[in-house]
Subunit: 471 residues, 2 copies
């Protein structure tokens, strides 16, 4: 959290985007003219977040000059807001001492995140130069698994003792306010650093000055472990409307806290990961618009190769049905309709189920009930689509070939049911196998629906055409 | 925000899900036995959020009984956490006075959200019975457009005057702490209610008691208007790490604040809406697992009907190519591969672009650069897939028919490029037409890729086969 919840931007009618663009273009002009004094002056009233965006929009060679215009305190705030790729490129261009000054003052959780993305050699050099306490804080965080509470927590919190009075506590907050992430959630520990209670600044401010912390603290509270997944931490903070949640180690000793502002960033990254996975892309959590073209292609090709394999099976099956496709060429007109509809009905079911798992909403029903409901929805949709498709095909596309139109309609019904069952059941299956349903579901649903869909369609057509010719 | 950032749940090793399930099953057994005293007792140490989830899991007839076990204060907290469909069903079952007592004590923003979803007649009755100040607060919020800052703000904030001393301000906070959403962000207004500055409780606690508010307030701050879109509010709070943002009317008078905990709920709903739209479903913001089967089908059928129309065009095009499909039946084996790959490459591009728009990350590049990059990625992917598909088709599926294999490979290259250009360009087009790219992109991309893809494929095949037979 910021020192002051609302730093300095003029209360103007200008939108943030316009402001940012104005600052960027002013900066660019002034830097081209080498008018550093004026450039420095225009940045003074601008918020760190907006300066960061303006710097990101500058040509790379100007970024480092613009950054050097900032005062040291301001520079740290701006640096923390920069995109990690810009952080890295600046890091490479700074002189050694500048980097150390900045990195030393970053909060340990932000620093751990930066180090995650720098080359190992650079990290070693930087860690070595940090002050002892900063080094310890960072090394501590880096010791935990990625994406766990341990990695995202900050060790910069205020702890109190039970015997402190409210007045003493307020005095302690006053003296520590400049080095801590938040002063609003306060943590009470015993002599062995075990967390025994929490209280809020609200509690302190509304209490009498001579009461003790022990009298007003809350001994029942929610905490997370260092190895709790960051998504679970986000869910807890969201669910209980917390401003921060304490992190304890396996012996229940307080080791850090996680604040709600960090959770907002994590939620955005996790959402991007989920949306990418549903769209058939891999995500590494970095900014897609700043990675190289080869990386872009690499992250997409996996899913497309899976499709190639799936479709080689579909093509082989179509080949075994060559005779009927040759006899009744009209059957091939409807293949895109059937595989397309199957794929989309399956995607609708799996989207609902996977999102329901990620928001915990799905557990209001059991998995069996969900699958049954989806199967019924699939049947209903299949009935509507099948009827419409039969009419449409027999009137417009294949008039006179009613058997083909009926085969299309019946297949649509069968494929919709199949797709909605596969789309809803496979995420549960993957979850119970401890695989990520968001990543795993799409390839298997597509394969099942395409391969079985084509088989159902052509065999149904064969049956209907045969019984038709027997009559 | 809650009064105390961490209410009462035992610090146990039990997971939240286990706890909730335990409470639910205990409640159910006790209610079946009509042992209301014990049921009441087991709920005392449980957090409102967990009680709400336990109640949601009970059979509908028991929900109202379980709810009545709660003390009035507890009931309000639990009610605010309940899913809106459960809120509604409870609302219909309560006796009139009970409803009014609860609704009267809900915070105005939560109440406005409940009223949004209740039948108009019920709302009128409830509004009429509220106390005057509550009625005014709610009517005020209800007067703003849905999904704007006005609708989600709370008028329950603490305002200060410039001439107050720090000591007087702390006294005012002490006396108002129980009726306000947050005490951490404080707002300074002049005699006409114009917002002239803000300060945080942190600023107050670290200042001298005899300083005045005017000396320590920050006059440069970020605010939003009542008609600012809620997604924009979420972005601002996230970007600046705010705990709350003030809402002003067109004359810059302070009318409310929006707190970070409400933003977390809004982000989840907006994400679900986006994910559903990308998966071809409509979302109304309510819990999908609690709506009726007909509603489920209705929300999906629109997209499937669009597909039906798209595919009727594709089928008509295939029909015009009937001669070549009849002559070379092997061509039809690859139709699912081509439309499937096209659809997926298009979805990958549009997913990246749409997500980039929603997170603002995309603006580090211009729209032209994004489309060019996607086109190149499409070409690269098409080259890889086309080569592999040509080899695979000529070896396994249609040995001896090299012309068909080459047509498949070349079409894959063309379709990949087409799909990635359509997938990246259409979202920009819809955005510039003020249409929602998340909703609009998929149907148009699918249509373009399917129809053009099939045309490209069969015409390429025709050309290659003809030149082949001429040799």
């Amino acid at each position: 959290m910021t020192e002051n919840p609302q730093p300095s931007v003029p209360l103007s009618t200008m939108s943030r985007k316009e402001l940012r663009e104005l600052v960027r273009s002013q900066l660019q002009v002034l830097l081209e003219r080498r008018d550093l004094q004026t450039a420095k002056a225009i940045l003074v009233p601008v918020q760190p977040a907006d300066i960061a965006e303006a710097i990101e929009g500058l040509p790379e060679t100007m970024q480092v000059i613009a950054f050097r215009l900032l005062s040291k305190d301001e520079a740290i705030k701006v640096y923390e807001q920069l995109d990690s790729s810009v952080q890295q490129s600046l890091c490479e261009k700074f002189k050694r001492q500048e980097v150390i000054d900045i990195v030393d003052k970053m909060s340990p959780d932000d620093r751990a995140r930066l180090f995650d993305e720098l080359p190992a050699a650079v990290v070693r050099r930087l860690v070595a130069e940090l002050s002892l306490s900063e080094r310890q804080a960072t090394a501590l965080l880096l010791g935990y698994e990625a994406d766990t509470a341990g990695r995202i927590m900050t060790p910069e919190y205020i702890s109190l003792k039970e015997e402190y009075t409210v007045g003493e506590s307020l005095e302690r907050i006053r003296s520590l306010a400049h080095v801590t992430e938040t002063v609003y959630s306060l943590y009470v520990t015993d002599s062995d650093r075990h967390l025994i209670g929490i209280l809020s600044l609200r509690d302190l401010v509304t209490a009498q000055l001579n009461q003790t912390v022990g009298e007003i603290l809350s001994r029942d509270f929610v905490s997370v472990q260092t190895d709790t997944d960051q998504e679970e931490v986000a869910r807890i903070i969201k669910r209980y409307d917390f401003l921060a949640v304490p992190v304890v180690d396996s012996e229940k000793r307080l080791v850090g806290i996680i604040t709600v502002d960090d959770i907002l960033d994590i939620l955005e990254k996790e959402t991007t990961k989920d949306i990418y996975a549903l769209g058939g892309l891999q995500a590494d959590g970095d900014n897609y618009f700043q990675v190289s073209l080869l990386t872009v292609a690499r992250r997409r090709v996996v899913w497309l190769l899976v499709l190639l394999v799936t479709n080689s099976i579909t093509a082989s099956i179509l080949k075994t049905q060559r005779d009927i496709l040759q006899d009744v060429v009209a059957l091939s007109f409807f293949i895109p309709l059937l595989t397309g509809t199957g794929g989309n009905v399956g995607a609708q079911s799996s989207t609902v189920v996977i999102r329901g798992m990620n928001t915990d909403e799905i557990w209001s029903l059991g998995s069996f009930q969900v699958i049954r409901r989806e199967a019924m929805a699939g049947a209903l949709l299949g009935l509507v689509l099948g009827t419409l498709a039969t009419i449409w095909a027999s009137v417009f596309i294949v008039p006179g070939q009613i058997a083909v139109a009926i085969a299309v309609g019946m297949s649509l019904l069968a494929i919709s049911m199949l797709a909605s069952v596969a789309g809803s059941a496979l995420p549960f299956l993957f979850r119970s196998l401890k695989l990520d349903p968001t990543l795993m579901s799409a390839p298997f649903i597509t394969t099942a629906v395409d391969v079985l869909g084509v088989l159902i369609y052509l065999n149904l057509a064969r049956m209907i055409l045969q019984s038709n010719s027997l009559n």
